[in-house]
């Protein structure tokens, strides 16, 4: 008990300046703008290089032919959809524990973005499933658990909208997203635990990957590009949410005046 209290004090003192800054909406708005200024072009370049490499220059699969190239959209979308849930749940937990308003902004912004990536993974999977499995939709363990992931995201969005009191909405959604975390490891391991049409993971951090480097490198590039894309979408969505929440404050007013004078 005593040790924990000391540890908490040390963390509080060490992290205080960062926490303090993250708690300030104008600072977050400014820093996210600065990040986006170089992040957006980088994302675009990564996406273009990865897509051209994967779709045109990497070799065709000896069994699936060219249809396997959907992988370069499908796998990164699925990876980011899962990672997005962690971002949402983590932001929710930070909001619950430290009452940080900006974490709540991040959680609210992450939910629709994550839902969009999950939908993209499911949709590209359906398009890929038609030529390879012979059906648009197969009730296999991983497809089903990704569908549950989509429902979890949509549940968070719906719950947030249902509350009039937005502070309570943020906390309730945080609890819900933490409960839904149980699903994430199940999705990860579903292909190993159950008989499934999905192949087990081909990319391994330890040991040898079962995918040829000529296909692996563009895939890794696309995964990096999708992570960057997720970050951009998240930051843009957070900025919109910040402006909406702070619309009555002085800094948003002066910002709006400056933007208007630029346009005129």
């Amino acid at each position: 008990m005593f040790v924990r209290r000391i540890a908490r004090c040390i963390i509080a003192v060490a992290m205080w300046p960062i926490f303090h800054k993250f708690g300030s909406p104008p600072w977050l708005y400014a820093i996210s703008g600065a990040i986006l200024r170089w992040m957006l072009p980088v994302t675009l370049i990564l996406l273009v290089i990865g897509a051209v490499w994967g779709l045109m220059f990497s070799p065709a699969d000896f069994r699936q032919g060219n249809s396997y190239r959907i992988m370069y959209i499908h796998v990164p979308a699925a990876v980011v959809a899962l990672a997005g849930y962690y971002v949402m749940a983590l932001a929710g937990a930070i909001n619950l524990i430290w009452r940080m308003k900006m974490a709540d902004v991040a959680m609210k912004a992450a939910a629709p973005v994550g839902a969009a990536f999950t939908f993209l993974a499911l949709f590209s999977g359906a398009v890929w499933g038609k030529p390879t499995w012979g059906a648009w939709w197969v009730w296999d363990a991983r497809v089903t658990s990704m569908l549950i992931l989509l429902f979890l995201y949509l549940g968070v969005v719906a719950l947030y909208e249902a509350f009039d009191n937005k502070e309570a909405a943020g906390k309730a959604c945080a609890v819900l997203s933490l409960v839904g975390m149980v699903n994430i490891p199940i999705i990860y391991k579903s292909v190993d635990w159950w008989y499934s049409l999905h192949q087990p993971a081909s990319i391994k951090l330890t040991g040898e990957s079962t995918i040829d480097p000529s296909m692996l490198y563009p895939l890794l590039l696309m995964i990096a590009a999708f992570y960057a894309l997720f970050t951009c979408c998240l930051l843009l969505n957070m900025r919109v949410e910040l402006l909406r929440r702070e619309s009555r404050t002085h800094w948003v007013g002066s910002l709006a005046k400056r933007e208007c004078s630029d346009v005129l």
Binding site: A162, E167, A168, A172, L176, N183
Partner: protein
């Protein structure tokens, strides 16, 4: 009068919930009547051929149990929230974790337990092979307890909202799905002669995990709803 001990308090709370239910017996019988009615829907919709019904019986029985649990779990905290006794409970020095377990336990005793005990009758209506009846009752006993705990999370998060009903379903149905998968797989396995033990063990493991963690989420949800 001295304050009751923690365990004593929980037993009193459980008894109060059960007493409230017994005073209004229609609330206890409603899930059972609902179960019977939805069972009747399936032969009407899928055709009354017995061999077809036997194939679907395991899944349909589990889905109906899940739906009747879903429809009742919305109301677990509602009346106590509206008359303010839930707020008193939160202010009391008793650990909320155990009080929540008492609420959920009462809900399970009134819905899940009764459904599980009555399920063999409905199973025969749907021509479920006799050798699967024991597994059906066991899987429902374990599974509905998990469902009650998960449903409590949705109920606690939405209890303060005016129109919670549909939203509660949207929140907790994704959480119900893993339970449905293993519950109906156990019964299906028993029908086709596969030992159902491993499935029941997974359901029991889910129950242990839910008993350990769900009351924490429910307690947090109740605190948020009361504050709002």
């Amino acid at each position: 009068m001295s304050a009751p001990g923690t365990l004593q308090f929980c037993i009193r709370l459980l008894r109060r919930q059960l007493l409230l239910a017994v005073r209004r017996p229609i609330e206890i019988s409603n899930p059972l009547v609902f179960f019977a009615m939805v069972v009747a829907l399936f032969p009407l919709g899928l055709g009354p051929a017995l061999e077809n019904l036997a194939g679907f019986a395991a899944g349909t029985l589990w889905i109906i149990a899940l739906l009747s649990n879903l429809l009742t779990s919305d109301a677990v905290f509602r009346s106590d929230f509206e008359d303010g006794s839930l707020e008193q409970l939160l202010l009391s020095p008793q650990p909320l974790y155990l009080s929540v377990l008492a609420y959920i336990g009462a809900h399970w005793l009134m819905t899940g337990l009764l459904l599980a005990l009555a399920s063999p009758v409905f199973a025969l209506l749907l021509n479920l092979p006799g050798q699967a009846l024991g597994t059906l009752v066991m899987s429902l006993l374990l599974g509905t307890a998990v469902l009650s705990l998960l449903g409590g999370i949705g109920a606690a998060l939405t209890v303060g909202l005016k129109r919670g009903g549909m939203l509660t379903s949207l929140l907790i149905l994704p959480l119900y799905m893993p339970v449905l998968i293993f519950g109906s797989a156990a019964v299906q396995g028993a029908v086709s002669g596969i030992p159902a033990g491993p499935y029941l063990a997974i359901l029991a493991a889910m129950l242990c995990l839910a008993i350990a963690l769900a009351p924490l989420a429910i307690a947090a949800g109740l605190r948020i709803s009361i504050d709002a």
